[in-house]
């Protein structure tokens, strides 16, 4: 029932939000700088946003191979 609690809460709000905003604002700048730097140093590797999951690409060659075999066989039988 003490007002210490309230003042601790206010402190948390003040320093907490201050830190969050300071850190993320800084991160905006640092990230932008990082992107600019990276894209100047290694400009060629830009790729589309669509990222293929690793497992799919590992499975596909085998799948493709099996399917091709099946289709070849099917064509051969005709």
């Amino acid at each position: 029932m003490d007002s210490i609690l309230i003042s601790q809460g206010l402190d948390l709000l003040l320093y907490g939000m201050g830190t969050v905003f300071t850190f993320l604002t800084l991160l905006v700048g640092v990230t932008s700088a990082m992107s600019a730097l990276v894209n100047r140093v290694a400009p060629d590797e830009v790729e589309a946003m669509v990222s293929a999951p690793g497992q799919a690409s590992a499975l596909e060659p085998r799948l493709t191979h099996i399917i091709q075999a099946a289709i070849d066989q099917h064509r051969g039988r005709k």
Binding site: L5, Q8, L24, T31, A42
Partner: protein, 390 residues
């Protein structure tokens, strides 16, 4: 005859207390919400089941092992005791989950438009105003929360389960059950909680703002970003390093492209195993004495407030940014800054489509959405630091 008495005396019916019965009903309710209503089932199914197990009278699921004077085990502990003390008290499970979440996170949208980090920052206002609300309730003697409790309650507003569990297990382990349940329940309720607030704070014209297409992001940027974030955290906010460090590690494994087998396991077997045990362990803290009290109602109420304020802050921040820049953002994506990945981003997209059926905001909302994860991890770090010194 003695045996019959022993059997009856050890039966649940003979031992059960009303509180345990009510807690079993709570567990069944959580399971119902998870299974029938789709409330975050990956966590609420294990938490609900763990709640029931922990409240079976005489089953000893959360009993500690007993050792004799020579250190030999006289009777082993219960399953939930081992899970809790090995994985939650130590903080290991939330950290491993965070690594898995990192390995499933795509920072592409954030990298294409880093300004959206500010939306993820703004939405954390919900966390800290809720802390203030909790200490005010305590100040006026309405409920009884310490500053540690208040901080743990506030983190519900971070809309991020592992972060909430990590902070609460460090600051207020007794509230773990209530806070985890509140956090996951409100994350599931995001499609109901957020839209009215989003509509109330925006004009139709604002909701129709079309954002320019996101630029493609290079593989190198994606690899360097988690390392940049890590170094920044290391230099400025080491208290946030456990959570953000593991998050960045998971993301680096995913993006670097040379350890796909580790990344796949992190995203599948490892995170699934830890999720099961994390949920059961949280359930073990759902005892009647800790859950069936007015404070739990207060936690649920404050948690809802936290989500609402976070949503509003995100939207208002977006409007503020628009007033200062010509490159407009649709303020609806500000609501995604609370985290609740990817639900909040989908909600932003849906409300946007209501206003303009051609306006797809999903990718744009993913930026503030993942920024919100960073934001609440930062908030968690600073809270643990400050509260520990109070």
């Amino acid at each position: 005859m003695d045996n019959l008495i022993s059997l009856w005396a050890s039966s649940g019916l003979a031992q059960i207390q009303l509180g345990q019965l009510v807690m079993m009903a709570v567990g069944l309710t959580l399971l119902f919400l998870a299974i029938s209503k789709g409330f975050e089932p990956l966590l609420l199914v294990p938490i609900g089941f763990g709640t029931i197990l922990a409240n079976i009278p005489g089953a000893g699921f959360d009993a500690a092992p007993v050792y004799d004077a020579f250190g030999h085990m006289e009777s082993p502990g219960g399953l939930l005791y081992y899970i809790y003390s090995a994985g939650i008290e130590t903080g290991l499970f939330p950290l491993v989950i965070f690594m898995g979440v990192g390995a499933m996170t795509d920072f592409g949208a954030l990298l294409a438009n880093p300004k959206t980090l500010l939306l993820g920052a703004a939405a954390q206002v919900g966390i800290f105003t809720t802390v203030l609300g909790a200490v005010t309730l305590s100040h006026f003697g309405i409920l009884d929360f310490s500053i540690r409790d208040a901080a743990s309650i506030g983190i519900i507003g971070g809309a991020d389960g592992p972060t909430a569990i990590f902070v609460t297990s460090k600051l207020s382990p007794d509230l773990l059950g209530a806070i985890a349940v509140a956090a996951y329940s409100y994350m599931a309720l995001v499609p109901i909680i957020q839209p009215p607030i989003m509509r109330a704070l925006t004009t139709p014209a604002e909701r129709q703002i079309k954002m320019e297409q996101l630029r493609p992001v290079s593989k190198a940027e994606r690899i360097v970003f988690p390392l940049t974030l890590l170094v920044l955290v290391a230099m400025l906010l080491p208290d946030a390093a456990p959570l953000l460090g593991m998050f960045c590690f998971g993301n680096l494994m995913k993006e670097c492209g040379v350890v796909n087998r580790l990344s796949d396991t992190t995203q599948n077997a490892l995170i699934n195993i830890v999720t099961i045990f994390l949920g059961l362990g949280v359930g073990s803290k759902m005892s009647a004495e800790k859950f069936l009290n007015p404070e739990t109602m207060g936690i649920l109420a404050l948690g809802a407030v936290a989500f609402c304020i976070g949503t509003a802050s995100g939207v208002l921040m977006a409007k503020l940014m628009n007033s200062m820049s010509t490159n407009k953002v649709n303020p609806l994506i500000g609501a995604a800054g609370v985290s609740a990945v990817p639900m909040a981003a989908r909600v932003a997209n849906k409300v946007g489509l209501e206003a303009n059926p051609q306006n797809f905001l999903l990718m744009h909302a993913m930026g503030p959405n993942v920024a919100g994860v960073i934001g609440s991890a930062v908030a968690a770090g600073v809270m643990i630091n400050l509260v520990s010194g109070m």
